[in-house]
Symmetry: C2
Subunit: 877 residues, 2 copies
């Protein structure tokens, strides 16, 4: 038997999403529920795959099946394609497995030609309707199928209106519309060199092909990348017989949500237009009426919709987004799907549905896309103000939330404006560096011209919960004159701008924001998530403030405290630099002695915030030159502070500089060259732990050694830690238990976990660096490369933000296995950026890890993602 | 039964090297052959391992066994330890599995104390002998066992001689010696705070402990790293009863080689001293007599030595290095081992022994350490001149061979001096960059202040066969004044220096050299190697000259032609820069059009040299900024040449600069961003191949795509190659077969070979970059890190020169397996520096690769190493 590529609605059902796409499967399901659905058939996603495999041709076999099913549809409807006496008209729509609203193409009214239009006019006794449909069809077909600029058609229609001195489409007469049809066909001929196809079958195949092709249009590709939809899925095509809401005032069309998509309120919500086609509702030209008003105009249809809505919501166990058309008083359902909703509504609906007994807790948890929670945790622009605002530039949405503030161009000025004059500040930089941290922390938001989603600015801003737009290529910064150029727009120091870290938009005005509010439903929902998940969720936090924030968001410990972030403060950078530039171990120890009490105090603060939860402290990681001044001005100031000559300092900085700092003298390599650093850090960790323990808070520190690639390295540094800890315990007359473990962030470490685990009580996969070294790709240098790779469809996503499961993930899986062979109870976690990414979290669950760690503002997202991962992996068993 | 840690000589045999060490096993074997060996016992390498595992203590059990065997030895010799009437005196020597001459410690005459010395005097009727032995013992024990500076003893002895106004040791009287003994014991007491131990058993245990400890002395560690000896092996300790060559003129001691160790001549070669201890021969204070002269003095002993030598050589199937002592006319054999020899001798001996039927071809091949061949391929300093010369500095032996020349400090001056004035030139640089290639090529040798064994200078020099000393930290270069400082020594431009790339020594004089000569034996020997090996050996060559050299050395094709090296020539760098700085694809194509004919000509030259052997051409690899000027002077000149402003060029260079160029925009990433580069290179490859094919030389080019990390990348670039090749074939009316493959030099590529091999006809492991990315260690930045790692015994070797089998090797093995699962006939090779390293070659054989590729001068080494690998892997089966 030949492979089946086409299904009648009556042959399918709701579970066939993969084959029929969401739209096709839902139409089949509604059909099987006996609902009034205009009948049709669906061409499967497999046909789409075949299309791409066949060099963008629809095979003869599939063509034959399409026409075979067209005949069946004709039999069902009693109408005939291209028959002026009783014409069948169709819509041709895309429908992928996942909803991709507006990303792909649709053709309506297919089947019209001169004869059919005339026949339709007679049949409906509505000439105006028939020719209006016809001219719309020509325009849509020309645009969607042939790629002709649709402005040509609008201009032609405007010409007719001008000639007739009328303003609105509904003032057009039948003659005007006939003239439009004629002119439109002329445009078609001019642009394609061919006559507009009058054969409906030719129209149909061309439309199907156009829908298949639209799977690969740039916006669809971008949407898939943003939403983790594989390009291999392809789209199905649904061919459905048309019904008309624009045949008169006993007709109409509308959309309805079974619950309020903005608030989640459990009440039918929707709007409709009398005498209109669906696109008129969407286009927003005429103002629609509320769905309640339909009850007054057509009570029977209204009651029927309410009934259907209830059935569909129950049946699909989710809030539904319905499209309907009323043709001459009769209701038709054109579509149902799970409705898009705000995060706030999503939570309320999920909680309500559980409480109404409509779905289980697990099902409710699966209904909310974890990333959507972001918008609940950060301020947003006031929706009304946002609608009117026009962005002056666009960058990467690097850290979510919205903020307005006065522009400052360096961390120092930003800090001064914010702390002394209490101004709201947006820090604008070409790119940020670790020295900018204080300035970033006192700003409302950060905007940079360079850097990707995982640039310094982005990572630090996300950690702090500051909104950030990075990689804004339209931005040119002139530090000397303190002015930023966005194309022609100049923004001076002190001018207001607003940035939206969730969209990447930049505005040259002060847009008001609304604060984040967390409802009681949110707490309830997250508690359910916590009960279901098996992965622990910790946070990456480098100071007590972030630790507190993360605890509020439900973090179960600190998975990564980057001690180097503590060294950039005004009071610390000087002893740090003295340490780095020390000419002897004695000098270095003296500088470290100054740092010790500060670091100890930080640790004490963090232990207190975490109140007994585990705290993992990573030892000094970055290459030392990162702490040294970069430009001549700063070098000169620093040299003065340090009592060195400019040349001396400059030479020292140059000597420490590296060709590839990412692969240089950093991580545990520092502790091996300068054991006194590891000793100081051990001392700070242990003394702080003892002090806080004495306050009655149990602390069991976890020391994490970075950049290990060999068991001997870890063994060496662990030796230092154990030795120094012993000394501290003896001095303090108190012993603590503590753990020593290792980051796995270098491919060789992953390859050697069987050996390294002999000395390691836990491993934390540092997926940022692991991804970069496994790919041989520095994220600081990746911007053009990734652009070119996306353009050429070599990569579908950026592996630094979403874990590469096939390569890096393979390594992680093997590494976890080898580690457990040696030490079956080893604790395995993740502390890279991927620890807050839902798709990656699903992978970490399946790889059998114990916890993820992410920035504080990602913690709720990770908690929900972990719950969903647990549910999915349970379901797979 | 207790574990046996001690063996009498009569309990062991020659096959027990692992347990007894080379020395112990050979003494046991000689004993079993009935040869006159002073008897003794050997404490096993397992006891050494136990010593280190027990925190450097000899366990009670092992101590008990030592004393038990001491008693047995007393029974055998009829002498007693510490008995003045009939004292047993012993030597205590180290003996590892592999010979490590002079690296570890020895104590002679152990068992002496005041009473025994007196007794020995009586017994031998030779008071002078007894007290000479005693003072030597105290000095040796103090130095070796207690670590007391031996200068103290020499000074004391010099004091006595001065007082007595005598010059030589043999002028010392018995009283002088007694006085020396007394003073020596005083020094011992002063330095240790204790009396010199008179209990012989205490002496013995202390000496054994000292020998065990000497396994970890810095020179032993260094020697092991240089010779690939694992530190886990440990050393055995041999305790042997002393015989004395210094009891009078019927005594003597000497060494003999069964064949000439310098030339390989098949004739006993050796020297001896009458009335002397072994150390006197080695110390070279008295001039020894030739072994033939022994025939005149003691004909019987001489005949016995000749007989024993013959037996031992036959028995061990190798040239032997014998130590003997004649005590009162009786011959004793103290040691036999395979003798060290020059490379030339090694080859001659191996060939002679096969022809004499003394060993098989396979055994002969195993006798020559492949790295030793290096000295046959390069000029060396005249041995006599070298003996007298004093180095002024020492760097890394980065590329073997010796050269003298006039110093020049930049490539331009070097080239001019060499090509216009025909001067021998040594190019001295802080470090080299690709622009220096021509200057390096016209120089006799290269000396750099920075950079390791795999720095640019080292890799390029090895490729060219130029000698090179890199990382010479004593060297400071002042480019402005054209002077180099080696400590206090100033060397100006035009001054002569000499450098030895095999030792790393630098001399401030003109040392004469002798040329490399390859004997007929060499050819015969290498032919045997070729018959045995299964791994193919190709070469890395970037120009016809290197290709020719490699062919002479037996290369079977080119495994890596780095096309970028062709772009640095004077005539090419300008169009290359135009290409890089092009503002449009059209401008870039115009620049590429200028490069095309040059590149095509290079390829033609290489195809001709390789005469039908495979030629693998790697597409452009380095980041483009490498081709741009680095300093202001050069920027200014280049800007003028390019018709740009200085600022414009400077900005362009800055824009292209990268944070981590190793992980940046390079390799296939360039071909993806600028497909026109790959098109030009494909065209050059194919047009050249067609032209040379038309000359009657069959060429089947292999195009290799660098830095691939995903199958989609390779598929994309392969698409360009195939498309452009098709065009060339159509234009030329001729088709060729060619292969497209990929480098595997990024961990992700290795992890994804199952996918990538779908598009790849061959893989070449680029172990240089693969090692760096797998370790997360940039070799440009590794120098201090590796120093600290060696110092702290974290690494035993530098993984960039010797393949890391446990990590990188594990990845290669897995990658090879996955690749063959997808494409069973895929050709797998190696083209990193490790391709010329014998130990790594053994690994590549075991991992099942098909070929290695190395620099031309490593080809003979690789051929022999491959033969040995084949023999070993056959033996293992």
């Amino acid at each position: 038997m030949a492979h089946k590529y086409v299904y009648l609605f009556s042959e399918g059902n709701g579970s066939m999403r993969e084959l029929l796409g969401g739209k096709g499967a839902n139409l089949a399901e509604m059909t099987s529920l006996g609902m009034p659905v205009p009948q049709g058939f669906t061409i499967t996603t497999e046909a789409c795959t075949d299309y791409y495999a066949s060099d963008k041709q629809i095979s003869a076999e599939i063509q034959a099946q399409i026409f075979e099913y067209l005949e069946k549809l004709e039999a069902i409807t009693g109408k005939k394609f291209g028959d002026p006496q009783n014409p069948l008209l169709c819509s041709v729509r895309s429908g992928a497995r996942a909803s991709m609203p507006g990303m792909m193409d649709t053709v309506l009214n297919l089947g019209l030609n001169d004869e059919v239009a005339e026949g339709l006019a007679k049949l409906t006794d509505n000439e105006r309707f028939a020719y209006d449909a016809y001219r719309r069809f020509i325009q849509m077909f020309s645009d969607v199928v042939m790629g002709i600029n649709k402005d040509y058609f609008d201009m032609a229609l405007d010409g007719i209106k001008e000639e007739r001195k009328i303003k609105f489409d509904n003032e057009l007469t039948v003659d005007d519309l006939k003239k439009a049809v004629c002119e439109f066909k002329g445009i078609y001929k001019r642009e394609t060199g061919e006559d507009f196809p009058s054969d409906s079958r030719v129209q149909l195949l061309a439309a199907v092909k156009a829908v298949f092709s639209s799977w690969e249009n740039p916006r669809a590709i971008y949407y898939r990348r943003m939403n983790d939809i594989p390009s291999s899925w392809g789209t199905a095509v649904t061919v459905q017989s048309m019904v008309f809401g624009n045949m008169g005032y006993d007709c109409g069309t509308g959309v309805a949500f079974t619950r309020n998509p903005s608030t989640g309120e459990n009440k039918l919500y929707g709007e409709f237009l009398m005498n209109a086609q669906g696109e008129d509702v969407v286009a927003g030209i005429r103002t629609p009426q509320t769905i309640e008003q339909l009850g007054e105009v057509m009570p029977q249809a209204y009651r029927q919709i309410i009934e259907i809505a209830e059935i569909l919501e129950k049946h699909n166990q989710d809030m539904q987004d319905l499209e309907f058309t009323i043709e001459k008083g009769k209701l038709y359902m054109l579509q149902t799907r799970n409705g898009k909703r705000t995060a706030q509504a999503a939570i309320k609906i999920a909680v309500d549905m559980v409480e109404q007994g409509l779905c289980s807790v697990e099902d409710a948890l699966m209904k909310v896309e974890p990333n959507r929670l972001d918008s609940l945790l950060h301020p947003q622009f006031e929706p009304q103000a946002l609608k009117k605002a026009v962005p002056i530039a666009h960058g990467l949405p690097a850290s979510p939330g919205a903020a307005f503030g006065k522009v400052y161009f360096n961390a120092e000025d930003a800090k001064e404006a914010a702390s002394k004059r209490n101004e709201p500040v947006i820090l604008v930089r070409i790119e940020t560096s670790p020295e900018d941290i204080e300035g970033m922390s006192t700003s409302k938001g950060v905007l940079t011209a360079r850097g990707g989603m995982t640039s310094h600015a982005a990572v630090v801003a996300r950690g702090m919960g500051r909104c950030c737009v990075s990689g804004c290529h339209d931005l040119i910064v002139d530090y000397n004159n303190k002015v930023a150029y966005f194309g022609d727009v100049k923004v001076y120091e002190g001018d207001f701008i607003s940035i939206d870290g969730s969209t990447g938009n930049v505005y040259a005005e002060k847009l008001p924001t609304v604060d984040a509010t967390l409802s009681g439903d949110f707490a309830k929902f997250m508690k359910w998530a916590d009960e279901v998940r098996t992965l622990k969720v910790r946070t990456n936090a480098d100071n007590p403030k972030d630790a507190r924030q993360a605890r509020l968001f439900g973090a179960e410990g600190i998975g990564l405290c980057r001690t180097e972030h503590m060294f950039f403060g005004k009071d610390r950078i000087l002893p740090m630099r003295q340490m780095i530039l020390a000419k002897s171990t004695r000098e270095r120890v003296a500088a470290l002695d100054k740092i010790l009490p500060m670091q100890q105090k930080d640790f004490e603060g963090m232990y207190r915030e975490m109140a007994g939860l585990p705290v993992t402290i990573r030892f000094l990681d970055p290459p030392l030159h990162e702490f040294l001044p970069h430009d001549d001005d700063e070098t000169s100031t620093t040299a003065y502070e340090m009592g060195m000559s400019f040349t001396e300092l400059k030479t020292a900085v140059k000597r420490l500089s590296e060709t590839n700092p990412m692969l240089g003298h950093r991580g545990c390599r520092l502790a091996i060259s300068y054991p006194e650093i590891a000793r100081m850090q051990t001392r700070a960790v242990m003394q702080a732990a003892i002090n806080v323990n004495r306050e009655g808070i149990k602390v069991e520190p976890e020391i994490m050694i970075p950049l290990v690639c060999d068991a001997a390295e870890l063994n060496f540094v662990k030796g230092i830690v154990d030795d120094e800890a012993k000394k501290v315990f003896a001095e303090q007359g108190m012993t603590l238990s503590y753990k020593v473990g290792s980051m796995i962030e270098i491919p060789r470490a992953a390859l050697m976990t069987d050996e390294i685990s002999k000395y390691s009580e836990f491993f934390s996969f540092g997926t940022n660096d692991l991804t970069q070294t496994t790919y041989g790709l520095s994220r600081d240098d990746a911007s053009q490369i990734l652009d070119d790779y996306f353009k050429n469809r070599i990569f579908e996503y950026d592996p630094t933000t979403k874990l590469d499961q096939s390569g890096v993930g393979k390594l992680i899986r093997m590494a976890a296995g080898w580690a457990r062979q040696t030490r079956s109870d080893i604790k395995l976690g993740v502390c890279g950026e991927h620890g807050g990414d839902p798709v990656s979290i699903q992978f970490f669950q399946s790889a059998g890890l114990d916890y993820v760690s992410c920035s504080p503002y990602r913690v709720p997202i990770a908690r929900l993602a972990a719950a969903q991962a647990a549910i999915r992996s349970r379901d797979e068993k």
